[in-house]
Amino acid sequence: MLLRPDPEDLRVISYYLGRVLLVMAGVAVLPLAWAVIGREWAPASSFLLTAGAFALVGVLVSMAPPRENRLGLGHGMVVVALAWLIAPALGSIPLALSGHFGSFLDAYFDAMSGLTASGSSLVNDVDHLAPSLNFWRHLLQFIGGQGIVLASVSVFAGGVGLSMFRGDGREDRILPSVASTARFIWLVSGLHLVFGVLLLGSVAYFGLGFTPARSLFHGLLTFFSSFVTGGFTVQSTSIGYYHSVFFEAATMVFMLAGAMSFSLHYALWRRRGRLQLLRDLETRTLAVTMAGTMVLLMLGLATLGLYRNVGSLARQGLFHIVSAHTSSGFTLVPSTEIAQWGGLAFVGVVTAMFLGGMASSAAGGLKALRVGLVAKVLKDQVKRVLLPDRAVVPSVYQQGGRRRLTQQAAQAALLVTLLFVGLCAVGTAVGMAYGYPLQQALFESVSAATNGGLSAGIYGPHMPVVLEVTYILQMWLGRLEFVAVFALFGFVVSGVRGR
């Protein structure tokens, strides 16, 4: 029997949703200031409208505070799912008004892609986009990759934010409280930001000969995008624009840092248990799958005869696998070339995108811990079949210490894996229904569902509306890893049919 939500449930949800939107209003002030300083008056007016819209909607929906401070798990999940739908809608206002998008839906696609740190884009003529608008696109990625909810938890929700934290796809509390964990994540990100902008800006200035201002601009925006494994870039030719192995290497460092769980960041930060972390199932799984998919890609590229020496193969293979596996979506070649990658190269990149980074990181995809658990379940099953009936197969694994693989954990990992496979299959089917070949449709669908961002050429301003909406939903579901979306669906159904 479904229980109809009471008015207090609605008050709790709308109150915290409003808080998240108020945080976004504050975030929108940053590009407004940028535009005013840069005397970009047209974008400045759009950012004022965006900040105003976030503030007004935020204040209106949080007008009636809840009687008691009880943000349950279900409430938190619903807040997160709604926040990830409404924030892109309001965040797309300056994009839609910029004249660089064919429709509001295209702008919404870009904002959703930004907030989910996917990196796919439908922007027209990005090479002439206002710097403040480009900053906004990259800032959306940074805020989304870090978690807009995380920001809100840090500022408003305090100790009641655990449910929102979980809804945002973050399962582990590094510190005793959610608020202190959120602050630690922001601290780590802040330090990486300073280091990242200095490193990337220095390469741009000293190595590439850019002007100081442009070096800082490229450094800041590329850091935003790489540290949250986003994929938006300053210029239309992605990271290939820089023609620099040093810039690529620096970008890879931040992509890998972004794909690491914050538990790993914490261990490195505290200089404790580093060796233990190297033995963890998740770390080992990521290392194995990254190496495996890189071999596949390099063999595939070698078979296709696209590169004429080992150095070229290594550079291109390494960069694109790091980009795909961390679900970043940066490229060194145009999407028209990626579309030609058949055979093993295609298998390598698609598999890497599907597997993704670590749990509780900015990366998307299935996540290394789940991949490791599924592999462990399969291995144990095979052992049980092969060993005598009386044999006991211990189901244990290393993850922050020795853990027993419970049936519940195994089922959860298998279920999410199946859901991801199903989501990719649906997107592929819709793509094929519009006449795209299987390989291209599968590539784009996996990219959307895992927030990968790489494209084989379907993403574009002229793609069919239904396909565009499908990719938007895939990005949303993939980023929230289904649970929060199912909670929202359940909430709506119980509101209609419950007693």
């Binding site: 409208l49 105003g52 007004l56 027209n124 003529d125 590439l208 000969g209 030719t237 290939g240 624009y241």
Partner: protein
């Protein structure tokens, strides 16, 4: 005897000149006689133009990266926005079509700024060799420029204030402030 010798010498010189003619003709095929292609052609089938001398029209955008090795790297866009920028009533035509170009500093003309926001960059015709997956540069693809013809210098464009969003935004913020104050008073 002298005349016969002279004739022989002339005949040898004439045949040598005739023999050298194709070679001389090949040498005069400078960059300006190279095959005219568009950026779209290069992106659509990059392998087809490998190591070929080509001539490409477009707009220089992004940055002029002056490197220590005496080259300038920038991006050449050959799309609809180079012809008619969006801010000059151009229409949406999809993503940019751009390639990387490497220009020797000695050939690089004195240009003030590349294309970007409110700037239509310099329009040029570049001649050079298309290096597809260059093994000497880790598999990069780019145009190795040997000749630059500047057609038009950069063009400044205007984009004014949008008054409706500005007014609405100010109104929304004022309204949000009012609602917040009233809510707080009621709660207090």
């Amino acid at each position: 005897m002298t005349a016969r010798r002279l004739l022989s010498i002339l005949a040898i010189v004439a045949s040598a000149l005739l023999g050298m003619a194709p070679a001389a003709a090949a040498q005069t095929v400078g960059p300006f006689d190279s095959e005219r292609v568009s950026v779209a052609d290069l992106l659509a089938d990059p392998e087809a133009y490998t190591a070929m001398e080509v001539e490409v029209w477009g707009e220089l955008v992004g940055d002029f990266g002056r490197r220590d090795d005496g080259t300038v790297w920038t991006q050449l866009n050959g799309d609809a926005y180079a012809e008619t920028p969006l801010l000059a009533d151009g229409s949406l035509a999809g993503a940019n079509l751009g390639i990387g170009v490497r220009i020797p500093a000695g050939l690089f003309p004195d240009l003030d700024r590349p294309g970007g926001y409110r700037v239509r960059g310099p329009l040029v015709v570049l001649q050079g060799m298309w290096r597809y997956h260059d093994p000497d540069r880790g598999g990069e693809s780019y145009l190795d420029v040997t000749g630059v013809e500047l057609l038009e210098t950069s063009l400044a464009l205007e984009e004014g204030v949008r008054w409706v969003p500005l007014g609405l935004g100010a109104g929304f913020l004022a309204l949000a402030g009012l609602v917040a104050v009233r809510t707080r008073r009621r709660a207090g």
